[in-house]
Subunit: 369 residues, 4 copies
């Protein structure tokens, strides 16, 4: 199994020239494209149509090459477009391709391996409760096993699009009357997804989990989960990124948990773990060029403070806190990495500690240069 990845700066959400060039030159085959993670210049909110625009462009590009209808491309390639390139963030798309199966025998060094899977379809009543946690954990465990890693410590990012099955007003009323109000919303779907990852990887014990702690006990969290949630989606899409001795290629991944959104030390620690020479990143374009992708989750600390001091992100009625928190964290990460192609998405329930969140870095291994 060989994983390759490219980070393309884009001129607009529907700029797919990067992948188009790879396909045209034969450098990549459409059927090997596993996922595309991109930041588009929308507001990241309900009226952000840049994600649809990007997705449509990739579907139009890939459909004829995959021999399927545009709307069927999503079943073959995982798309994770996140709106909001606040501040210095450069709109970009990370394309990941994967060829071949796991190696028969392990190699000495580990390389990035990727696995894609799906949960079963969920009933609305399961979202934000233990059934979602357990099923998510089951899929994560299965995918991790397929990558033949040495242990859970080799898993560095679990990117998910969480299910939010629709329900009727009557179903909602009935559930509330029965004492179990539906939680089929973004907050709970993200929270339960993250806890599913935490359970699968041993970050949280099974005993600690119950319906009651979901989106309530913030001391429970995953340091590798990254979940967005999509209304109408009935099953959760799961992408596991890990380092494996059974993979080749020149990529490795590392991660860490940032304690808050100005945790530059935390960013530096992840960069070091990924094998980057942090002191050189600021001014050495060669070292910087080793970075393929940076993926993080941000949150305007709900307690209203950062490092013990008041912030105004939650009481600003002109600009939303999601835009601010992405801007802040992306600025901090870019200032350490020297690269503005940073993928920060927001809302981080059970993703790292309250006010903080996970950061994962994919880089080219030094010995591969």
């Amino acid at each position: 199994m060989r994983v390759r990845a490219w980070n393309f700066e884009t001129r607009a959400p529907h700029d797919v020239r990067g992948l188009q060039g790879l396909l045209a030159s034969g450098a990549v085959r459409a059927e090997d494209v596993r996922c595309v993670l991109g930041k588009t210049e929308g507001n990241g909110g309900r009226n952000d149509f840049t994600r649809d625009l990007a997705m449509g462009a990739y579907e139009a590009l890939l459909a004829p090459r995959l021999g399927c209808a545009p709307e069927a491309v999503q079943d073959r390639v995982v798309f994770s477009f996140s709106g909001g390139t606040e501040g210095v963030v450069t709109p970009h798309a990370v394309v990941i391709a994967q060829e071949g199966d796991s190696l028969a025998t392990p190699r000495a060094e580990k390389r990035l391996a990727v696995a894609v899977g799906y949960t079963r379809e969920f009933a609305p009543s399961e979202i934000g409760r233990m059934p979602q946690v357990l099923e998510t954990a089951r899929v994560v465990r299965e995918l991790v096993a397929s990558l033949r890693v040495d242990g859970p410590g080799d898993v560095h990012l679990v990117q998910m699009k969480g299910a939010i099955p629709s329900y009727t007003h009557a179903e909602g009323e009935a559930a509330a009357a029965a004492g179990a109000p539906l939680r089929s919303d973004m907050v709970y779907s993200r929270g339960a997804s993250a806890l599913g990852v935490a359970l699968a990887l041993g970050e949280v014990s099974a005993e600690a989990l119950s319906d009651a702690v979901i989106c309530r006990d913030w001391s429970l969290y995953s340091g590798v989960a990254s979940c967005s949630a999509k209304p109408g989606l009935r099953r959760t899409e799961v992408l596991v990124f890990a380092n494996s001795r059974y993979a080749t290629g020149d990529l490795v991944i590392a991660h860490g948990v940032l304690q808050d959104i100005v945790d530059a030390e935390g960013v530096r620690a992840v960069a070091r773990d990924a094998g980057l020479d942090v002191a050189r990143l600021g001014h050495d374009a060669t070292e910087r060029a080793r970075i393929v992708g940076a993926f993080a989750k941000s949150e305007a600390d709900p307690r209203g403070t950062v490092r013990g001091r008041r912030h105004t992100m939650l009481t600003d009625d002109d600009i939303g806190d999601t835009r601010y928190s992405r801007c802040v964290l992306a600025s901090v990460i870019a200032s350490v990495l020297g690269d503005t192609r940073v993928y920060v998405s927001t809302r981080a329930e059970h993703h790292g500690p309250l006010g903080g969140g996970p950061l994962a870095l994919i880089v080219r291994a030094e010995d591969s240069q």
Copy 2:
């Protein structure tokens, strides 16, 4: 001469409890208050009334203690309130008091000294042209001399409120017809003010300056100027901050020029120059407590890129570039200092290189702890 300074977190723009406490306890006398520099939670734009609210509250506080009318307080105390606490920035006010005259004999170590002055009143035709530059330089030189510094290298911040005299439509038309269109606006007033500082301190030579280069040749700049401009103001207010052997107290100031708005290395260099232990700032509250004030200028790079990659700050019609650039730079500075009380104001014509800007830090000297 002894300079003291306090950095008060504020609950609202008109929260003056910090200074009120100092005055009530007798720790500070109203007549010693030299200036207040603060960040208020407005948008920093034309319809930002938080600055008026803050100013009014300080005037109401100080007027009875100074024995003057509220509107006369501004003639005795320099106020520099900057709207916009985007992202993690904590609304705060830095109060600076100064007692006594210059020492008779120099001390071994240098300490923060402050001088306040004013240019003569300008005609609209002088703004953004050499007369403004030269007069500003004259005042800066005079103030610097009064501080008895060893040399221009001891000057680390020149905070100004630049004149923008009003003019009638007819005056504007007449000037344009005469081939010298008026430049009495914010952009030119800030640019000429900064070049005045650069000239006074030898950062730019007199030969290099002419009307033609103002707001045109961005290679000319000051690394210590920080100017806002205020419509209707007829003379420029000038505040010089320097280290002097003729001052006592426990404060020192340092500065540096950031090359762009994610220049964390530049921030770290200034912190080191100020005598801070940068490695400890992130987690050591004692070291962090030595920081009294951080003052910087930000700009969304007008070339549309940061570190060679596209940014979208200038083409976003939902959120202004001034809000983004302040958010980005303040995040980076806060991530290095571990302190979110960062004063970043925006628009930086001839303040540092294009896309970059100056940063000054006031800290408690280590030996004074």
Copy 3:
């Protein structure tokens, strides 16, 4: 009793020159100023400090003339500043003064009369529940009686600032555990205040009211209530505007209920009821000059449609629905009245039907010209 009113266009939130002039010339005595209702150019949200700025300026103006401390002015004059002058709305302040007592004998024609009162202080548990409704109704009835109107049909506007007593986290948890979660928030305080008015004026019957219907059964509403709610306020301020035979002066008031935020016909009906010649308003400045104040409540219809067609106000993450709904309704009212000094505040729980709201007009009586 004589009520007089002035509508002053303002240059900024703290522009009090209008009232200042009246006081200086002796046209009005400070002790006769009963209330000031104004629109200020803020965002109307949590970080809108223009209301504080306006209030502070009026307090500074009136305190010396009333011989009290600035913070005590609020006990003598009711201030109702509403932020948000979206679109064509002209920032303005309506000053209302009242002299003398009720006439001994009724006159043939009715004139505007005003009464001010306060509820008792509420416990947090009472807000949004029947105790708040009943106490509000009691005060409204009392004030209405004091004005000696012919009947409830003579009451055209009840402007309130609703109580929202603070409570501790523990109190909140205890109430929830006891099965009666606290409702001490803006939504419920406004809703219960409006129902209190509806009850007092016979718009809703006592039998129809219960804790369960508050903020739930939107078919129950008042057509004359206008309530904002203020966190921390322990009692509700109540201003009743009515036409009475026991009042003199040249002002009358009328009102109506708009069915939605583009109900121009409804606006025209209110204008006609107020005695205005609607056909002349658009182009006849004299007729238009009879208008002293227009007061309305707006709401982006929560069902997502207006006149059966989709609107996007509730799913726009760039601009809030409160800003849009004020802009829309104020535009429609201004287009009928020909006057852009329109006071529209937002959030209209139990104020008129869902998606609609009340409109009141104060005008100079025709025979008084």
Copy 4:
């Protein structure tokens, strides 16, 4: 020649189900679709990608049916998508189809006729100057003639997408040095396009026009032009809507000039001219159903006042004036028509008087019901 039109409410910018249904049922043939004018829920600014999303969806729909590549559809169908559905505006698309040629002999009654044309390609130096005006006028005259109208009074809307040819920095510098700075921008392209229409239709005399008056003398304007301008476009697209005796179908068009953005009387006059019963529109769905499309241009009056009173649209740094002015005018139009499917686009240089603008209505003729 028969013109038909449909107004489809859309669920999202790329919702093309309306036209899709017509095509699928055979009600319309793809080759008869002449233009689509739509409002999409973006911000209408530089980072509004909803227009691209809409256009792409229509191209994907029509390309296979027209037997051409998606990018070639624009040469056959004129698209005019305008972003910004502020306030009550319902996102919608008006599809216009045209079949057959002009009738051989005139009928007694006039019906809507449409003609499409293009100017020659412009050099950057021609934009905003007389060559653009004259060439635009030439095309308009030609198209008007082709429609065989009784006179210019039968032309009610000239919808244009104005050319803005790109140029290099060097070309710009050269032109400025030669004393004729390039005007190849949106403001000038819209202004010259409108004056071209005014010239063609006799609204402005040839003698009154010169390079000097363009975007300077606002007393010169067209009451039927509606121009947006698109960077990179080298020729202007022109759509003429008129009533002709040589057309059949059940549609007619009318127009008028609004004096300002709250000119409800002006809107009512246009509705009456179009044959609508204005008094019934507010409550009579049948009368209202006769409206097919409302097209207007808005502008926040640059003098800072509306009806002599201050507005704050131009000094609000949170929300742009284009968003406000569209919201205001659309609200006023919707309040008269009772229909929220209103197409208001902004920026109206030489489109109606300063602060005002044209309004055109397409309705089903009464006798056609």
